[in-house]
């Protein structure tokens, strides 16, 4: 019933416009060969259909509320010189293009598709190849960026921009994109109230996802895999990260997820696998981490002593080299009801909770923190001995960093 009412309203609003809306065909084999000409001819609400073919027509500016639609992915080639689509009007849809070879510049941020100070722009089903920036929203609001494939091939970070870049934007919806080979896969700065979901971000040179000062955003069901330095989120509050996968982020300064100065956030149901560090936290506070899985990481979590009020509950820690690393002895965080596969305690009262606390920071991880070359001796008899002694008589490891109620069996996550 509700749907019918909505449909009615939608029709009521759009039909008057539709009544006058026309379809303009441009491109190869059409009377109008130049796309910009078609746009100039169009009025609000028109649809411009671009035929299949390769277009080397420089910069195209969309300054009307129109739909620009490609048939069979026509190619817009910027010849390494131009910004291809500049959207300067609200209610624009760009659909179904292959956009490639934008210009490069160290002065301005040239993009395949750039949205300038406007709202309700939809960028959908496009393929972007080898552009400086892929899709760039500059002060955009309520924009939808969906199902685009964004790929770049630059080797060096400075020669490549970001895949999807939002600056001073609000209420963005970025979903179902796949981004590869850019500097940062998705970059948000001063972007708020946005939803980032179901994107696959891999093999970017720097961060898969990178945001700063971008409050109140939600990230769900994304995959961040094998990016140069993983995912970095900084100086932000009210972040919700759910059901994402952070995988194969390997390297000295690579993290599944780097949290720097993050507060009041939820990290739930995520999967961290085969990262050098699953999560690295610095200066973060009031974060709740629940139902995450940490598997096969070097360090599941590195929590610097500058973190406080972190709640770590009901997570699974499986087959990590080190469950946790830290750099100090001050602990103002709580750990409860996690499953640690390294736990060697017992459960006499059969309540499925271990009777003695688990200390996730091993002595040797503290030593390695201070003296990285000592990694060479890891798992040797002498270091195992040191660890066992430390378990009995903690001296180096923080006294309070412990899970008093460790689970005996892993959670079904």
């Amino acid at each position: 019933m509700n749907r019918l009412i909505i449909l009615y309203f939608v029709l009521a609003i759009t039909i008057p416009a539709q009544a006058f809306a026309k379809i303009i065909k441009v491109g190869k084999g059409q009377t109008i060969a130049v796309i910009q000409q078609g746009i100039d001819m169009a009025v609000t609400g028109d649809t411009i259909l671009v035929s299949e073919g390769i277009y080397r027509q420089g910069n195209i500016v969309i300054n009307k509320s129109i739909v620009l639609k490609g048939v069979n992915h026509p190619v817009l080639d910027g010849e390494k010189n131009y910004e291809l689509l500049s959207v300067k009007s609200p209610n624009v849809t760009v659909d179904g293009f292959l956009i490639r070879n934008s210009g490069h510049s160290s002065m301005t941020d040239i993009a395949g598709i750039k949205i300038y100070n406007t709202h309700h722009v939809t960028v959908i089903n496009n393929i972007l190849e080898d552009n400086f920036f892929g899709i760039y929203a500059q002060q955009g609001t309520h924009c939808v960026i969906q199902n685009n494939q964004v790929t770049a091939y630059a080797k060096a970070t400075q020669l490549s921009g970001n895949g999807i870049h939002c600056w001073k934007s609000d209420s963005m919806h970025i979903s179902g994109n796949s981004i590869t080979g850019h500097r940062d896969g998705i970059y948000l700065e001063f972007a708020t109230h946005s939803l980032i979901e179901k994107n696959t971000v891999q093999k970017n040179n720097r961060y898969g996802l990178h945001f700063m000062f971008s409050h109140n955003n939600t990230y769900t069901n994304n995959v961040f895999r094998n990016n140069g330095a993983g995912v970095a989120v900084m100086y932000t509050r009210n972040v919700t990260m759910k059901n994402n996968r952070f995988e194969d982020n390997w390297g000295d300064a690579a993290y599944g997820l780097l949290l720097k100065e993050i507060s009041d956030s939820d990290i739930e149901g995520n999967y961290f696998e085969k990262n050098t560090s699953g999560i690295y936290m610095d200066g973060s506070s009031r974060i709740e981490m629940r139902k995450n899985v940490f598997k096969d990481n070097g360090w599941a979590i590195k929590m610097q002593a500058s973190c406080m009020d972190i709640k770590l509950e009901k997570n699974n820690f499986i087959n990590n080299t080190f469950d946790m690393g830290t750099n100090g002895s001050l602990v103002l965080n709580t750990f409860k009801n996690n499953y640690w596969d390294k736990y060697e305690g017992y459960d006499l009262n059969k309540d499925k909770i271990g009777d003695i606390p688990y200390r996730p920071v091993s002595m040797y991880s503290m030593i390695i923190e201070q003296m990285p070359p000592a990694m060479m001796l890891f798992r040797s008899f002498i270091t195992t001995l040191l660890d066992k002694t430390e378990k009995l008589l903690p001296s180096l490891t923080p006294e309070n960093l412990k899970d008093d109620y460790p689970l005996m069996k892993p959670l079904a996550l």
Binding site: A254, P373, M375, M376, F378, F381, I382
Partner: protein, 255 residues
């Protein structure tokens, strides 16, 4: 040479200690794989067995065997045989039978339960360590006439390679903590076959952790094909060098 080797192997394989060793390894590896909830944890438990027990049994057993065979060796020397043949036969017999024990006791369970790169690397290094410590054992026993002294010597050697060396390295690391020692550590590891084996296993087992920090240097070195080949060459050298020295000593030794 084959003539002698086959009889030596047949003799050693029926030795009670070797049978017990095989059974122990088999029992340990089966229980480790069956009791731990995931088999990669099982591998971890097996790691210490391989790095401690295998060298210990190989070195002590071989030493005792050589001493107990002294009259037999004399008899062989009185036969029309080159000394080189006799010595290499004894070495090969010991190395082959201890490797076989290890393969049956630990190798087969690994292949059954955890035929992962980590498991395979453990199997390979375990075999290497078996042979290396036979080699060290025969060098120790040919240079020491007294049996008790010889056994004491090899136990000390084992202690050195499996514990003291690492302690010493750790101590030096603390002493020179301000210097970049990563590259030096790669070189240092070549001086201890147990450490080298452990690092090779570590590179498979803790690959994520080794991606960071010093690990990257190890990874860059040992992780490449050239690095692995070099590491294998160093292990081979650990096999051949003591054997060669012992051979030189044995061919001129007064029995």
């Amino acid at each position: 040479m084959i003539k002698i080797i086959k009889y030596v192997i047949a003799d050693i394989l029926r030795n009670k200690i070797v049978i017990a060793y095989t059974a122990f390894l088999l029992l340990m590896s089966l229980s480790v794989f069956n009791l731990e909830d995931n088999s990669s944890k099982g591998l971890l438990s097996l790691l210490n067995i391989i790095l401690l027990i295998v060298p210990l049994v190989s070195i002590v057993f071989s030493t005792i065997y050589i001493y107990n065979s002294s009259e037999f060796i004399e008899l062989l020397v009185s036969q029309p045989l080159k000394r080189k043949t006799i010595w290499l036969s004894l070495f090969s017999g010991l190395a082959a039978s201890l490797s076989l024990s290890f393969f049956i006791g630990a190798g087969i369970p690994i292949l059954l339960y955890q035929a992962s790169p980590t498991g395979i690397m453990m199997l390979i290094t375990g075999l290497f360590l078996s042979v290396i410590f036979v080699s060290i054992a025969i060098l120790a026993s040919v240079t020491t006439r007294d049996k008790a002294k010889g056994i004491g010597k090899v136990i000390l050697l084992w202690l050195y390679f499996s514990i003291l060396f690492d302690g010493l390295v750790l101590f030096l690391l603390f002493q020179f903590a301000d210097y970049p020692l990563e590259k030096a550590m790669v070189a240092v590891s070549a001086f201890n076959p147990i450490d080298l084996s452990r690092i090779l296993i570590l590179l498979q087992m803790d690959v994520s952790a080794l991606m960071g920090y010093t690990g990257a240097i190890f990874r860059n070195f040992f992780g490449t094909q050239a690095g692995v080949i070099l590491a294998i060459c160093v292990l081979l050298l650990w096999m051949i060098a003591p054997l060669w020295l012992s051979l030189r000593r044995f061919t001129t030794k007064d029995l």
